[in-house]
Point group: C4
Chain length 323, copies 4
């Protein structure tokens, strides 16, 4: 495994990490989860990513159980949670958003579900237009001073809001944001490469990127078109299909070119797509989601690919997938 600093911070995360999203607490059972965490840990993964919104808290519960069960050393791994994800119709008004109340309540609840005394990373899952950035920055700082959180950050925040948060922290001598969790893959590069560009030097921002496979598109599973019996083919999921494939199907074409090139290179497309993310030095870690151990092991091979392939190959991949 390779380890990287979380931005300019001193925290060293494994370049590949394991996310509980979609799988833990829903798609997979407790024993599969245990095997995934054990496999990741044995391969050197030291960061396990969660959110209060994943499976409505069940993801954290499973993750917490499994980590406790495996007796991983608390100072050897990092665990995260995230507070607030857009409107959740079934949640009461005080149980969403980035207010001081919810930031605190969500942290306490995550600590309990994860069965730890502090979160290593704590993210604002999305910006909350109904809470001043200052309120959230102060609330995060309080959690750090109380020892409940070590590093706080954001997920999918516009650069301008991240900068505002950092500015407030500086003015009032508070702990500012350390990292962002953006989507990043060969089909979605702008935010990480352009929008956040000034923040790396300015704030020392780290990134824990998600969706390296573009929702599976880069594995080639939709290369022959969307199968009639697949989830995306259902009329009522047209919105999801649009989001994954793009309105014009252009993303599908680009993904097809990527898969073809992978075949030409003689490597599996998934680890190749993941390895490419790591060629960006501003990526601190790439989050892997997996429902099967074999799939996780294949994806972890990205580390070897990173060393094996050369600069020219990475540029070819970028050219092939450009819009």
């Amino acid at each position: 495994m390779q380890y990287r600093r979380l931005g300019s911070s001193g925290l060293q995360l494994s370049a590949l990490s394991l996310g509980a999203w979609v799988t833990f607490g829903s798609q997979i059972g407790r024993s599969e989860a245990r095997e995934l965490v054990a496999t990741a840990w044995d391969h050197g993964v030291n960061f396990f990513d969660n959110a209060e919104g994943y499976a409505n808290g069940a993801a954290e519960q499973v993750m917490g159980d499994v980590i406790a069960d495996l007796r991983l050393p608390r100072d050897g791994y990092c665990v995260s949670s995230k507070v607030f994800f857009g409107a959740a119709a079934d949640r009461r008004p005080t149980q969403r958003g980035l207010s001081r109340k919810h930031v605190r309540d969500a942290c306490d609840a995550a600590l309990k579900r994860l069965r730890v005394e502090h979160l290593d990373l704590y993210f604002c899952h999305r910006p909350d237009p109904d809470t001043p950035v200052a309120e959230t920055v102060w609330a995060m700082d309080t959690l750090i001073r109380q020892g409940k959180v070590l590093y706080w950050g954001t997920s999918e925040w516009p650069a301008t809001l991240i900068r505002e948060a950092a500015q407030i922290a500086r003015t009032h001598h508070l702990h500012g944001p350390t990292m962002e969790q953006p989507e990043y893959n060969l089909l979605k590069r702008a935010r990480v490469e352009l929008e956040y560009a000034p923040l790396y030097a300015e704030l020392g921002l780290g990134t824990t990127v998600w969706s390296p496979l573009a929702s599976g598109l880069l594995t080639g599973k939709y290369t022959g078109g969307v199968p009639a019996d697949s989830r995306l083919a259902q009329p009522e999921l047209a919105w999801l299909k649009r989001s994954v494939l793009g309105d014009d199907g252009d993303r599908l074409t680009r993904a097809g070119r990527f898969v073809a090139l992978a075949a030409e290179l003689g490597v599996a497309p998934a680890p190749l797509a993941i390895a490419w993310c790591l060629t960006n030095p501003h990526v601190s870690t790439v989050l892997l989601g997996a429902s099967r151990t074999a799939q996780l092991i294949e994806n972890l091979q990205a580390i070897e690919l990173l060393d094996r392939l050369d600069e020219a190959t990475w540029r070819r991949l970028e050219a092939a997938t450009s819009a």
Copy 2:
């Protein structure tokens, strides 16, 4: 129910909330209190207002028992307390005022009576001329950093003192006041609409207003004059009569015009008066006091009236009740 931000803060309170004042711990028993809280909660109320001075602490004790008994989710509701209300002859000198000692002792005592680990809102019940504003601001900030309080505010403070508190907080990097709890109703509008006007934008001040019915005057219960057998008719309560009715009986006349107009509109006067308060966007929540469940349910209808009536009607109510 409608939910509103507490000023510019991220906290979302129900537009109508339940106050323990006068009723809890004195006028009504524990089972009536239980029914009132349950009813309010079922209608979407998420803020329960208290003070150390209400029934000398008994209000908080009953409220705490009832909330625990109903097993309301701690992150789903907000509970408040208030420290200090003028001179209490039977209290020792260190047990009143806004000194660091009393702010802290009163908070600890309220937490115990309410059976919670933190207060969501904590108010300075009145200004204390014998304590520097700075001492109180620092004391409140310390409680927030210790996790005992989430938001602090004031009640019936002149705008100039609120601004002073905010200024001290800014200078020393402390948590400033978030809200005020002023009296507000059709017969008493100046403080909320004029005196505090600059503070809404300047500080993002929220308001949790009390006495929307002007001590019952706007329900029409004194429309035919003060009944000879009523409390207000007793000679020794002349001072209370003056305060409620105004020295010249003018408030009674204005209330009478309001009740007549309500009848003309075909709506009950109480929810109408409450709904009018909510037409002011700077009102974060209106505190309801009720001793009977039926009365509470009627008052909660203000939310529907707010949607049903139009701008012109609200203006007619204001014209009818103006001095």
Copy 3:
């Protein structure tokens, strides 16, 4: 009892308070101590003064036992301790001075002996030339933020050091000193009346003065000269005699004039001397030391004298005792 603010702070102390110095833990037993505290409390005294140095900790232990035994309400009284008093030959180097270590260790030890969770007042008993003022200010601020102390102050510090402490606090947004505990009586007026004069307005400094009877001189017990069998007559206590009487015996003469004037006024000298201290509005409270209940009760009469005598009388007392 009369109550006064501790300087410009919001804390209201009884104008007369009870000190453990000399008596508690040494001169008197536990049952006498209990009677003294009970009597003081019944007369409205709400401040009980201690120091780690009094009877080497035993004073605090007795005071703590007695207060617990009497079940005084924690929010109704104030208790203090003091850290460091010059060199104590029998103490190890880390157990004296105003270093961060000793300030903290001494506080923890005092809390334990006094059986309370926080000290209301915590004093630096003397200046420590071997510790930077800044280190002590930061240490005191930390204790306040941790909830172990409410107000901190100094005892017998030169004005210039008190001002330095306040300046450091302002610059670094820390809690500054609230009060001083100086000696003050008709024979020793300069420090309180002249040296500290600018600090009352500038810092809102309060004072908790000690030795209102000038070590007993103003009770008249040495009026007829120092009795041959008294403590002060012993050759090896010549230094104490000098300190109490002054090198030239002038203090004895002045005290004699005071006692004569008290007789002329028909009042006991002790409460008269105490009452005079209270004519100074910058005195927040006068510490009484007593070994017998009768003596304490006599001294508590100072409050009545304060109202009964007129301005001219106080001026006569000052003239009679001036050097």
Copy 4:
């Protein structure tokens, strides 16, 4: 024993103190350790120095056991730990360096091993180029505010980094570094005497120096050359030999001159070399390492030598050992 302030701080350390390095938890057993600590304490030593890296934590465990066993009064002695020492191949990435995570985890682990509730001194064992100085300063300040640490400092940091840390602390109102732990002896003087020179006045920096005997060179044990059967003679320890003796053997020659001079003065070389360190007023304490009690007792005689020898003698020693 003599006591000295830790730089300009108020903490008084014994001029000679006991370090666990090399010996505790490895070279010596628990009963020898107990005798060493007891002997040091009886001679007035009040500072016991440790690091997470000494014997991989075992040094702290033994030290903690022994101190608890001897029932030393917690406010009478100081105990330290140090976080991070270069790369430790067998430690996971989050378990080394000066990140907020490791600073905190290492402190918690040291507290547990040492069986205390706070560390009196906590050092950054080496600079960490992979963590911003600011992150470490904030992390140390948080530990002090939480009461887990009293004073923090550095070990073998370049002056420029110490100054940077102090500057960050000043700007953000945090606790800055109080002390440095550099190597210092007659053969290695530059850092303490030249590089840190401006920091003593500027920051009030204290020093807790190690290796007063230059790894044993100044005891004369290598005067006759490196014995063939000694550790340094082994080919695979050539690097250690180089480091101790210097590439050119010059250090051995200088040490030989020192030992000869000691013989001429009629004093044992070890306490003489230690005493010389104490002639520098910027040395707060000299750390002694010992595996036998007799050796410790001999070294403790340095205090007497310090008084006995005169200025001219110290200058002769310096001349004799200069390069």
